[in-house]
Point group: C2
Chain length 409, copies 2
């Protein structure tokens, strides 16, 4: 087990019980020997689900299957294994996914395999040990109404150094609505319309169409606003289940929807930031904010360029206020910039404008900021427009090399 990231949250929230959700985890031995690596969640009939998946053209068999489950509209359960991604495994990989779903369906009355999402992450290009997994699903997964979210978060992790959970609780129409979310992810992180693996469960009541709309919208400002290493997984999956057992029917307009979306964004942003805080080898958490862009997309492209630059990330790892590398990362995007108004700040210290260093710039203030763990970079592109975006990332350290030059062994 890897040492816990120094950026891990100091406290773990007390997770709520979401009505209509049963779960189980077990150590199947498929890859990891002494920890949970297989898990399942089954929501009551009547549950609706929304999902977003990786846009990779080499997406894995579990993603292809789960897209079908989403489109048939009846998905309400999931089975997840950790350590083997079941990607680039051809026909056998597709058969194996179907078998996993079928095996879970067999043990739950009224559950069909077409209602079971499947997720797998880990090494790409290896076949699953299905004898091991099928036996574990059939015999060792004991679904329980006692929701142990931490055990679930642990069992979906691979190179994660801590379990990632988040919650929200709101009140609608006099009734309490619960949100419980979990995620895994540490490397191969630049989600594209999705994330590594993230699941959010709520007992709120709304239509599937509205649930999907809300998930897409919030994903843009949470999982799609993070990067660890610019590599996009073949397994990215984010699912949102609503069991519809609490509160009034939420409609597309009005304060109920606003409250629901805000709570969902809180949970998803929290999980997304926890993924960055567990970025492989991370020693600093970096928030990049870009404004004055042509539009929000342009601002995000610049923010991602800064967040993905190995030279920016290593400078911050070394506590070096080498802001010239930020100028470089802005320039390489070719997004519109009003150069003579471009400004660069770190830790809220204005460092430079298009005419160079500001008068009286005191580098020691920035150095002091960079000695901490929470780093901010603010860039104003100079008024090409009103677009802005925030992206979260981490620094690039020896730890990243240690983990990834020796992953499979």
């Amino acid at each position: 087990m890897l040492k816990t990231s120094p950026l891990a949250p100091k406290t773990v929230p007390t997770m709520p019980q979401v009505k209509g959700v049963r779960m189980a985890t077990t150590a199947s031995g498929e890859r990891y020997k002494s920890r949970g690596d297989l898990s399942a969640v089954v929501c009551d009939a009547g549950t609706i689900a929304a999902g977003v998946f990786t846009q990779s053209s080499t997406a894995g068999a579990p993603v292809l299957w789960s897209r079908e489950v989403l489109s048939n509209g009846a998905g309400r359960a999931m089975v997840v294994n950790a350590g083997n991604a079941n990607v680039f495994t051809g026909c056998q990989g597709k058969n194996d996914v179907r078998s996993m779903a079928a095996k879970l369906a067999e043990k739950v009355t009224g559950l069909e395999k077409e209602q079971v999402f499947v997720s797998s992450t880990g090494v790409i290009g290896e076949y699953l040990d299905m004898a091991c997994l099928e036996q574990a699903i059939a015999q060792d997964l004991h679904l329980s109404e006692q929701q142990d979210w931490l055990a679930l978060a642990n069992a979906i992790g691979t190179t994660d150094t801590y379990p990632k959970v988040a919650r929200a609780i709101i009140e609608l129409g006099g009734e309490v609505i619960h949100f419980a979310g979990l995620a895994k992810g540490s490397g191969m992180i630049e989600p594209n319309m999705a994330t590594m693996l993230a699941y959010v469960f709520t007992d709120a009541k709304l239509s599937q169409a509205l649930l999907q709309t809300c998930l897409l919208d919030v994903t843009q400002r949470s999982f799609n606003a993070i990067t660890v290493d610019s590599d996009t997984s073949t397994s990215d999956t984010c699912l949102l289940f609503a069991t519809c057992l609490s509160g009034p029917m939420i409609e597309a307009v009005g304060s109920d929807y606003a409250a629901f979306a805000a709570a969902l964004e809180e949970v998803m942003r929290d999980l997304a930031q926890q993924i960055v805080r567990d970025g492989e080898g991370a020693s600093k958490f970096i928030t990049v904010h870009v404004c004055g862009a042509k539009n929000d997309e342009s601002a995000q492209a610049v923010a991602k360029s800064i967040a993905n630059s190995p030279l920016v990330k290593t400078a911050i790892a070394g506590g070096d206020a080498n802001w010239g590398r930020i100028v470089m990362a802005v320039g390489k995007t070719n997004e519109p910039v009003v150069l003579h108004k471009l400004t660069i700040s770190m830790g809220s210290v204005l460092i430079a404008t298009g005419d160079g260093l500001v008068d009286g710039y005191d580098e020691s203030l920035v150095a002091q900021h960079l000695a901490g763990q929470d780093i901010t970079i603010d860039v104003d592109l100079g008024g090409a427009g009103a677009g802005e975006a925030t992206v979260w990332t981490c620094d690039l350290t020896h730890g990243y090399i240690d983990i990834n030059a020796d992953y499979r062994s």
Copy 2:
């Protein structure tokens, strides 16, 4: 001085004397204390020049100046300092470039400042020490017809661990034509229509228009086909000077032009590969070849995605045959792929096709290949088209972190 890269060429070529070229180097003390860091080259009147520059929107003052020199059509000299890039330095930076060109022009009869290209690389965002540079140009640069290409290549370097030179000699119309090239670059390397700094001198005779056409064409398959760390410099400059003192007039069609272009490509590809071989922290040289793409641009996008993937680069650093990461890097581009025909090979060993691992795959053969220094990756996108491309890169090691987490100090 950094330890010489293990991938450095084993021998240095005997460099030719190119007719009509004078040069000088000196230690100005602007940044480096005990080595050459300032250099100048002056070609005879009648010389023509071609150039390509960084496409960065934050390109430095020397690049802006040199673009003007190129467009006025009379450029035939250059002055280069190492250690300070003179980028994002506003009006002062622009004045300083003009002063450097003027100072060189002052000491050469018949040379105008508008004929002097200027290049600077190093830290971004600091002002040049002009008192130091002006004095060194005026007093310490002694132009000589004895061409010391190695001294010149050393004096333009920054984090380079060895001087990069290349040559070619051809015969046209019974006369010998010489090519001498030099380059610097080690980090912040993913040139976009240019490279860090590269200069090629020839005494061939041809029109400026043809020279520029040839340079653009060859750049695409040399400097634009390499990457070290996906970061694009604000200072990238590649200049090609022809003194027109040897051989027949080369026209746009015919065997003379073909021979000229082939020799130029040999020199530029050699220099480009030397930059990769000196990639910061590099321990392995990697050739990525992609075929079966929609077109050459699509093939290059996929090859660059593989070559820039931190997970692919760290796996190779660790000698890990983790080919699944290559599948990931193909997928994240969203370039067209015929997935069931996609094939992945390393070291000429076919590893996987769209249906997964090939029968009888022997990982030890790939592991043996990865234990060496020259790694090949071959990807066939499955016949989406006939496009193909080759990109050269290096692995990502602890050395890169060491160098870049502590660059300015």
